[in-house]
Symmetry: C2
């Protein structure tokens, strides 16, 4: 089949799922059919839209309950949450932080904000996330544990943390990764920006890392406009997260004392109000997204040359973004499919350019990244809004 013919076949297959539309079909669109209006109006009516107000506390409490993470601290966005996770992991200037080359740029940027150096690791085809086997092999070769710390023998720098990102909602294989981190004295951070609602062996993502980051950007499974959160089971770390996100101000009714370098990373109350309403509907969103994912799997099963990505049996994905992986024989058709889909106003996209190919991270240390480099050429994301399977009820 020619590139054009294959591309046309893919678009034709997509049309079997996607409703006919005069408008472009976005990759992921939020849905506001719950109490968004009521809660936001309450903010405006009471005048509490900003850094104080009950919805921030309530959103944190409800996030904690939903994820079963003992503490949740709301932030202004997922990047801020990642930055705080790294600070809580005692990442300091000149340290190295392990993270997948296959991730959104925020993961690597947050490492730079700490003055630390990203050290890129490979992903595996099973999860699209950190490959525990390759990680173990790599660390066995380059890392040395001295006392309670891990050092890169080649660069001499301390390796302080690993950020494991759950790609498109699919959990990485957390058990072996956590074991490797423990063995090498590396703090485990989960970048769960894309995986709210996903579970790993029955546990919500964000519960295995020492600290974890969530995102509620407009394209995520629930949105606060812009927002994020830090999850942790450690009360002291949660308190520290709250302190760092609120300019490190010492509590006092009117005195302004700040006891360390802090950040203005708090989530405004009006955004948290949106979050509370969205979280109430997450079961419905998840049900819709899982239904949509099963439709993708079914409809594409007849087409040779690609496979719909499905998570391992121990993982339950939120299917944030529906993902198709081209066969090695069909890699060369990726751009044609992207062009045709976008011309047809079906917003398809490739995965992010790998981190070590971006100019600011070109000289960062890395292991063999052959799987990520192969996946980069073969991944396609297709429209994944819950509304694509019809009306989304408030709760499933």
């Amino acid at each position: 089949m020619s590139g054009e013919a294959f591309s046309d076949a893919v678009i034709e297959t997509l049309r079997g799922i996607l409703p006919p539309s005069q408008e472009p079909i976005p990759l992921h669109q939020p849905s506001f059919k719950g109490s968004e209006w009521t809660y936001v109006k309450e903010c405006l009516d009471t005048g509490w839209v900003s850094s104080a107000g009950k919805f921030v506390d309530r959103f944190e409490k409800e996030l904690s309950e939903y994820t079963t993470s003992p503490f949740a601290v709301a932030c202004c966005n997922g990047t801020a949450a990642l930055h705080i996770c790294l600070l809580l992991s005692e990442v300091e200037r000149g340290d190295e932080v392990l993270l997948p080359a296959l991730t959104f740029v925020a993961t690597a940027n947050a490492v730079s904000y700490c003055g630390a150096i990203p050290h890129f690791v490979d992903s595996e085809e099973r999860t699209l996330g950190v490959d525990p086997e390759k990680l173990l092999k790599h660390l066995s070769e380059i890392a040395e544990v001295r006392g309670n710390e891990c050092f890169n023998r080649k660069t001499g720098r301390r390796i302080r943390a690993l950020v494991a990102m759950h790609t498109f909602g699919c959990p990485v294989d957390l058990d072996p990764i956590a074991e490797i981190c423990q063995r090498f004295k590396i703090h485990l951070i989960e970048d769960a920006a894309e995986s709210l609602g996903s579970t790993y062996k029955g546990r919500h993502t964000g519960n295995i890392g020492r600290v974890s980051a969530l995102s509620f950007n407009g394209n995520k499974i629930i949105t606060t406009g812009g927002g994020g959160a830090v999850l942790t089971a450690d009360k002291k770390l949660a308190e520290k997260a709250k302190h760092l996100t609120t300019t490190a101000k010492s509590p006092h009714p009117y005195l302004f004392n700040h006891d360390e370098l802090g950040y203005n990373y708090r989530m405004p109350n009006i955004n948290a109000a949106l979050g509370c309403a969205q979280l109430e509907q997450i079961d419905g969103f998840l049900a819709a997204k899982r239904l949509l994912a099963s439709k993708y799997e079914k409809i594409f099963s007849g087409l040779q040359g690609l496979k719909v990505f499905t998570p391992p049996t121990w993982a339950k994905s939120n299917f944030w973004l529906n993902t198709v992986i081209l066969d090695h024989t069909h890699t060369q058709y990726r751009d044609e499919i992207l062009k045709t889909a976008n011309a047809a106003e079906i917003l398809a996209r490739p995965v992010w350019t790998l981190m070590h190919k971006l100019p600011m991270f070109k000289s960062a240390p890395r292991m063999d990244l052959s799987t990520a480099e192969s996946l980069e050429l073969r991944i396609l994301n297709f429209p994944s809004s819950p509304s694509l399977v019809g009306e989304v009820s408030g709760n499933a």
Copy 2:
């Protein structure tokens, strides 16, 4: 008069302005009587709450028109806007940045985010902001211009920028400060977080610095919940600001390339919607705040031991926070007044603890700070919400 008697007299005087209230009277409360509701609902109805959507563009355009600054770039908060201003001023790791010791901690924190070192300068009683005369004397003593750059002879470090903060809305004396910056090859940044609506010799603050930062936090004259903006007359700097605040992503319909270290500092659309509605009402807010300020001036004129702060004749303040300055003879009563007022649920507060007294900035270089140190003991802020002078109309 004893401390208690003086303190009681101050509270009694305050009661002459403040309406009787069952609720605590906050320092500054926003007012949502315009189109907030309509615009926010439009965001929810259209699904555009996040990083894309028309209100961000509209808010930037309207901010630019209102301030007469050719370009405005919305950010997630004022701290982020300051950070971007410093990056646009080419502040690099190891540089020094001049800023007043008398400021909110965000000004100094943003300098630290760049890896630069705050260098504290004194304020003057006339404006509560940077003292141009002392600044000139200090730079004449310690600074050396080599080529197009300024160096601190004592530390050997480059001095890259001066951040002049308009305290409580009162513009600093920008003409001589701009002249000093030009002479010493230092970039001038206006921290106009508190001074939207204030003018210096007829020009809106934020127009004299090469770049300037605004804040729309919940306690500011207009609010977006959390928000800020960068103002500049330089198109290239405005484009760079937009690029840096949006993860430095190269424009493309679906490819993810980022060409430098970027930030997630964009303002969500739902917050910009609030901003558009608030900005429509700013003339009314300003009129109310100026009326309230004149009431403060009048009612306190009979009380010996303090003076209501009034800006110089060339300045028109937005009177963000009404400010009283204790006479040198009455410094010792500050804490008593704060305690009494807050016990009476009238939220009064002192000025921020001076920056060089905070643990993270203790070893930073500084000039003689005697005026700031005196002001720190004598400044009191009193309730300043526009609603304290009755209903605020949509437009004055």
